[in-house]
Subunit: 132 residues, 2 copies
DNA sequence: CGGAATCCTATTTGATACTG
DNA sequence: CAGTATCAAATAGGATTCCG
């Protein structure tokens, strides 16, 4: 019986970031701020929306979001991973295949993002109507 | 979760302008991003949470959020005002009294913020449990 | 009281080139 | 394919001082 390449979960190389440092005292006590914060990256909502459909490879995400740079995509994926929203599966093939998928925690967030999307649509509409 | 109408997805002809040199503070075509963006300021969730109880004066907000500087509070209030979330009422008294209150748009946002708060609480709990 | 003006630092993102 | 490394630019936020 041949073995399928089994995914090895997570833990990207530990280049722990120059980008994420201690944010501030309010963070620990404020769930709203914590939630906003995990979505704060410029491309994170888009990234999550891409891989919610199905697990995606690094290059797939780049194709879907052509304006993000490789560096930024890497950083934001690492942060999402550190925040427990994304899992990085490495398949030991040649060439190597890496897939990113959402955790259940992130799937529950995507429901909140639906609400955010609805509110954002109203917001954009009202601003357009009042000649923003 | 529905799909983000974010930069270039799928098969549609690319009518999205390639003007990527200047990405404004608001991503016009992405409601989720727009919603995140109006809450993005470091103190905006806290400010809204303060005002939602009842209209508040500038100095009241400062007392409630002692770590915010006068400058930053002013800037973030102006941004919230420009975004149509906050109304600034000036009473011609001596000394002048200024009160800030939420618009209906902001009140509908506060419901979404409740969802964000619940998700944020789960997020913080899971991270605490896994030795973040 | 309720800010505005100015200066300054830290964080975030992008562009470009290179690698195992 | 899936990233790193480096540099540069844009932004956000804080500290301080001054004002009607």
């Amino acid at each position: 019986m041949s073995e399928l390449p089994s995914p090895v979960s997570g833990t990207a190389p530990d280049t722990l970031d120059p980008h994420r440092k201690h944010i501030g005292p309010l963070e620990k006590e404020c769930p709203v701020w914590a939630a906003i914060n995990v979505l704060r990256g410029r491309w994170k909502p888009s990234i999550l929306c891409e891989i919610v459909k199905q697990p995606q490879r690094y290059s797939d995400i780049r194709k879907a979001l052509p304006h993000i740079s490789a560096q930024t995509l890497t950083v934001q994926l690492r942060e999402l991973e550190a925040d427990g929203l994304v899992v990085r599966d490495v398949y030991a093939e040649v060439p190597v295949r890496v897939e990113y998928r959402l955790t259940p925690l992130a799937e529950s967030l995507s429901e909140v993002m639906d609400e955010l999307e609805q509110w954002g649509a109203r917001y954009l509409q009202e601003r357009a109507g009042s000649g923003h």
